[in-house]
Structures are given as C-alpha cells and as structure tokens.
C-alpha cells in the first residue's frame, strides 16, 4: 500500500478528530514529511477517540503515525503479511484496531516500543518493511 502526501500543514485538519496535535499551525514538514512524496504504509491504526485513520510510515529512519487526511492512496493493495486486530474489548487500551504487520497486532509491547525507539522494535519494523518491499517487486 502506497500513499502520496498532498499537504504537510495541519491547517485543514479538524483538531477534534486529529487529536494528536493541538494547533492548526502544526506542520508535519518539521518531521521531514514532504508534499508530493510517496510513502510505503506499514500499518494503519484507528484510535478509540477518533474516526480518523493514521498511517505508519517512516521518515529519516524514524517510523511515525500520520493522519490520513494529509495523503491520498495511490496503491491500495494490502501486503500479504498484514494482520488485523481489534482492541475494542480491552478497556485499558486506547487503540480501537490495527491493520499491519504481525508484531504490531500480536506482540503486546511492540506498538509502544516503536514509539520509544527501542532497537528491537525498529529492527522488527525494518525487517517487515524489507519483506513488503520484496513482495511488491515480485
């Protein structure tokens, strides 16, 4: 699955939905996101408190979750390796569901470890990315 960035500015985002930012002045360009650039999606997430999807992509070697409103989908084929998990029944989890590689859905700590930049989690991420890239070539 590939997406193209249409805009890096948060000016058009609804803060009630994209609640990972606190101002419309926010610009994801600070994170290295570039307009018109194409990115490979490693996962999608839906949190319990918003109906907006977030995509997991990496920029400058750092995977991050970005709101889908900034992008358009240019390749909608889902990778064979993806799993899906609904967390809705787990009351202490803030995630509603995840589509993505195995560890994100099925390994308890992987999601947080990726945010915390743990080496092990980053290694898993890039191994999965490599597999998806290889599959997309064949």
């Amino acid at each position: 699955m590939k997406i193209k960035c249409n805009d890096t500015s948060a000016v058009k985002l609804k803060l009630s939905e994209v609640n990972t930012i606190t101002s419309n002045e926010f610009d994801y360009n600070n994170w290295g996101l570039l307009a018109n650039e194409i990115y490979l999606v490693l996962a999608m997430i839906l949190y319990k408190d918003t109906k907006y999807l977030y995509y997991l992509i990496d920029i400058n070697g750092k995977p991050n979750w970005f709101p889908n409103e900034l992008f358009e989908v240019i390749d909608n084929i889902l990778p064979n390796q993806w799993s899906f998990k609904i967390f809705n029944t787990e009351s202490d989890v803030d995630i509603y569901c995840i589509w993505g590689y195995d560890e994100l859905c099925n390994q308890e700590d992987h999601y947080d470890q990726l945010i915390e930049r743990e080496d092990e989690a980053l290694t898993i991420y890039y191994n999965q990315k490599r597999k998806i890239e290889e599959d997309s070539v064949h």
Partner: protein, 278 residues
C-alpha cells in the same frame, strides 16, 4: 561539613543561614529551588532532606550523574595537578567495579534533579575514597574521588588547586549544556525524574543542532505532537489520570520526547525531556 563557595547550591539541612552546606549524608529530594545565576540564567537546584539509600548497579557503567556530562567534555584530574584530562567514557571505564554498590546521591541526581545535576550533587555527596558494598565490604570509590575533584573546582575540596574565578567559569560553562534550564517563554520541567535509557535516549544535547531543537521545544512545548501510547501514561509520576500525555518533537532530524500535562486544552506542565539517540 564543608561550605559550597559558590553559594548557589542547596542549603540542605545543615547549619541555618549558611548557604551551600556540603553534607556527606545522602538525602532525599524534597523540592526544587529556583536560582538566578550570575549569568542571568535561571537554574533549578535540588533541595534534599532525609537520607535514603537506593541501590544502583555500578557494573553497568551507568553513573547517572556522569552521563549528564557531555561526552566531548574533558574532565581534568586536579588530584594530578590538573595535567591529565579524560573523557566521560574514560572516567566510566576507570570507575567500573565488579559488584553492585550502595550509594544514593548520584541516583537521586538523575531521578529528580533539575538544574545542577552533576557538580551540585556530587558536591553535596561529599568526598569519600571508598564506598560500602551491600555485603559489608568496601570498594575504592571512583565517584568519591571525582567528587573530590569536583569539589576542588569549587574550592571546597581538600586542596584549592583551581582559582575561584576559574571555578565559576567552569561552573557556567558546564551549565550551558544542561538542557533543563527553563527556556525563555517555556515552562520549567517539574523534575520528577527521567526515563532516558542508555543507548536509546539522552538528556543532554551533544551538538548545536540538538541543543537548538531542545531549546526550541522547551521554549514552546505546546507545539509538540501527542504520541498515543497503547494504554496511555501509566507512570505514577505523570499519570494519564492527571492529564499527562507523551509528547514528541522533531526538527532538523532531531527527535525529542517529553511529557506534558494538559488541562482543558492548555499545557500546564512538562517534564522528562530526552533526545532520541545513542
């Protein structure tokens, strides 16, 4: 008991009215004191109380206070007449011991101190050349030796090999690297601790790009991005029930993590700034 000649360190529970008593007893962090330095910069200084004795594993080379020292800094060994200079890593290697030791102040310094986490706390710890192991034996205490050195920088050790004006200059220069000073227009970090992890994140910038990015976000912490953890903030120091959120900032490729306390859409407090990187 010795005196802190700078008068800028904590008074502790020593003699009333005398600033900067250097006590050999490890004490519990009670509060953070705001001090305006000679250079006009505001520092936050720890104030300690009753003794506590957490245990740290010295075999990990993780003398937390030491890790506050920028790696490029050369530490001058005054005990040798100031002729030798070593990097942080060299010091750590020479300090490495084989068994866990029990001491507290360095650990306190990392966990709860803002402003003068290194020299200030080393000075307060006092200078002993050996430390007691948990099993009752003793080891040569490299920390104590270093404290002697640090104390002498401030004129408070067993010798005064460095003139006071030089001490103050070193003191100012050192604090230039401390990221937790309250940035202009920002909110001073609470100083409830640090979750920086060796090999993953650091509390101190190691270059100008990192320093600028840190100053930028500390000066305007509400512009960060909220990173949603799977189960929210569960650390009791910054619990989600009190409005705490994990926050991140990225500029020029420098990624900074911290925690912010939000109330009704307003950022009320920040803490635990750390730079992602080895």
């Amino acid at each position: 008991m010795r005196q802190d000649p700078t008068g800028m360190l904590d008074t502790g529970p020593g003699e009333p009215g005398k600033a900067g008593n250097i006590d050999t007893e490890p004490r519990k962090l009670l509060s953070i004191k705001r001090v305006e330095g000679l250079d006009g910069v505001v520092y936050y200084v720890p104030v300690y109380g009753n003794p506590i004795a957490p245990t740290v594993d010295a075999t990990k080379k993780d003398y937390n206070g030491l890790n506050s020292v920028p790696p490029e800094l050369k530490l001058h060994n005054i005990a040798d007449g100031g002729t030798m200079s070593q990097t942080r890593e060299t010091w750590a290697d020479s300090w490495r011991v084989s068994e866990p030791i029990s001491y507290s102040l360095i650990n306190d310094a990392y966990g709860g101190v803002q402003g003068l986490p290194f020299f200030g706390d080393l000075l307060k710890r006092g200078a002993s050349s050996s430390v007691s192991n948990l099993d009752g034996t003793t080891n040569q205490d490299p920390i104590g030796s270093f404290i002697n050195t640090a104390a002498m920088f401030f004129g408070g050790g067993s010798g005064k090999l460095v003139p006071k004006h030089l001490s103050v200059r070193v003191f100012r220069w050192f604090n230039k690297f401390m990221p937790w000073k309250a940035a202009k227009g920002g909110i001073a970090p609470l100083g409830l601790g640090s979750t920086a992890k060796v090999g993953v994140s650091r509390v101190n910038p190691v270059n100008i790009t990192e320093e600028l990015a840190l100053k930028e976000i500390m000066g305007n912490p509400s512009m960060g991005n909220i990173a949603k953890l799977k189960k929210g903030m569960t650390d009791s120091r910054w619990h989600q029930n009190d409005g705490w959120q994990k926050m991140t900032w990225n500029n020029g490729g420098v990624e900074i993590h911290y925690v912010g306390q939000w109330q009704n859409g307003v950022l009320k407090a920040v803490d635990d700034f750390k730079i992602i990187g080895k």
